[in-house]
């Protein structure tokens, strides 16, 4: 019995790692030979298939999304843990809302973004519409990780601070926040990862323009979207792999950073 279980465990571990390595290795092997300096030229043409505009658009989208979603998400998390009465109706409501939001497939966000931001509010396909759509999408993630980071801070620390005559704000900023910071940051990094990898929610909100966006109301395409479109066009399969290499490297780096911060969090307790 135990021998079979052990075998099954080993096999699944092997499979999981094997598949991961296979995917990454495959993309690297197929993509690296096709990475050319011309792919980083300032402007995209069908000849150079430059991903530079997409890189810029990705950075812009990530930056703007963090700008919108971080304050809302982090403050909500703080409210839920530090201020709201435990078990109050409002808290329940916010919990249900965030849980529901996190279960919705991203294409639904895309659809909503298109109908509401793009059409109803007349934002057109734009950085703004894309940002708002993915902001809503990552909000539950940020709220959840902020909550968890705050809840992991022992109550003894809060009491110690109050008992010295410190107020709520000082206690939160000087005692709770430094301890919770790595956890909050790692949630933010995971959100960045989700934004970078997103296509469905962006296709009809950010649009797919090939130039560098020159304002909030200008369309663009992120790296993931760029890959998706290139491969669906079928003309530049090799360049798709090359783009994929860059994307994979970015995501791996982010995940590493998030794990590192996560470890710091558990050690700091």
């Amino acid at each position: 019995m135990s021998r079979i279980t052990r075998f099954a465990v080993k096999l699944s571990a092997f499979l999981t790692f094997g598949i991961l390595f296979f995917i990454i290795g495959y993309i690297l092997l197929k993509g690296i030979p096709y990475i050319k300096p011309s792919m980083f030229e300032f402007e995209y043409t069908t000849n150079n298939v430059s991903m530079f505009p997409a890189i810029v658009a990705t950075i812009l989208l990530v930056g703007l999304t963090l700008l919108v979603a971080t304050p809302i998400g982090v403050f909500t998390g703080f409210y839920l843990v530090e201020y709201a009465k435990k078990g109050s109706k409002l808290v329940e409501l916010i919990r249900i809302a965030t849980e529901t939001l996190s279960g919705i497939p991203s294409i639904v966000y895309g659809l909503f973004g298109m109908l509401f931001f793009v059409i109803k509010l007349k934002f057109q396909y734009s950085l703004l519409a894309g940002t708002l759509t993915v902001s809503i999408m990552v909000l539950p993630l940020i709220i959840r990780s902020t909550e968890e980071a705050l809840m992991s801070v022992g109550n003894g620390l809060r009491e110690g601070s109050f008992a010295l005559g410190a107020g709520k704000l000082r206690t939160i900023f000087r005692v709770v926040l430094p301890v919770a910071m790595p956890g909050i940051l790692s949630g933010l990094i995971l959100s960045i990862g989700r934004v970078i990898g997103e296509t469905a929610a962006l296709m009809y909100t950010l649009g797919t323009a090939t130039k560098i966006p020159d304002g909030l109301f200008s369309s663009g395409r992120t790296l993931a979207l760029h890959m998706y479109i290139l491969s669906s066009e079928g003309m530049h399969v090799n360049e798709v792999y090359a783009t994929g290499v860059i994307l994979v490297i970015i995501v791996l780096l982010l995940n590493g950073l998030s794990t590192y911060l996560g470890n710091k969090l558990t050690k700091g307790r």
Binding site: K85, K86, G154, G156, L157, E159, G160, S161, F162, A163, L164, G165, A166, G167, R170, R174, V175, P178, V179, G268
Partner: protein, 250 residues
Amino acid sequence: MSKISIKKMDLYYTDFHALKNINMEIQANEITAFIGPSGCGKSTLLKSLNRMNDLVEGCRISGDILLDDEDIYDNDYDVNLLRKRVGMVFQSPNPFPMSIYDNIAYGPRTHGIKSKAKLDEIVEKSLRGGAIWDEIKDDLKKNALRVSGGQQQRICIARALAVDPEVLLMDEPTSALDPISTAKIEDLVQELKKKYTIVMVTHNMQQATRVSDKTAFFLTGEVIEFGNTEAMFSMPQDKRTEDYITGRFG
């Protein structure tokens, strides 16, 4: 005049009547010990003295608690100022995850002291007061979590002293510590009573007799007996007190 006087005080956690008609006079520069079986309300009364109970949802208090003849539960009484005057040391050491220096300086900074020289002076004085200066004076930059439990607890005492309190509340300050650290803290408490009024919860009968001047015996939310420690341990007035201190109790 007593430092703290508790008059006809009742406390409820939502529907649970945790303290019943408490009357007690706590004298300045004395050590008052709270003893009694688990769950009888010792910590609850202690936390009422610096209003840490305000943080507990559903906690209601009636009656009066006076500090220097002022009702601390008055609506316009400044809670943060109260907690500066009435410091607290917790059962398990809870230093902040920052340097020893910053731990001690946290309170004074909270109350507006910014000058580096002044802070240096307070840090040294408080650590000396906590009987730990000699052990860690070269490690002030070290994270306070990286010292032993006994040292952490004395850092917490020093941290409480740093805001220049008048009263010091201690909730089983030695229960998480080894005998040597415990002895150090008991000596320290004796020393501290020259300057401060001390109220201390303890589960340890010997500790109560060793350090305290007055003792209050609690049972299911009531103070059964309150008086001179020596008198009480040699000649308890109430049968239940006698049962408890002679160890014949549940």
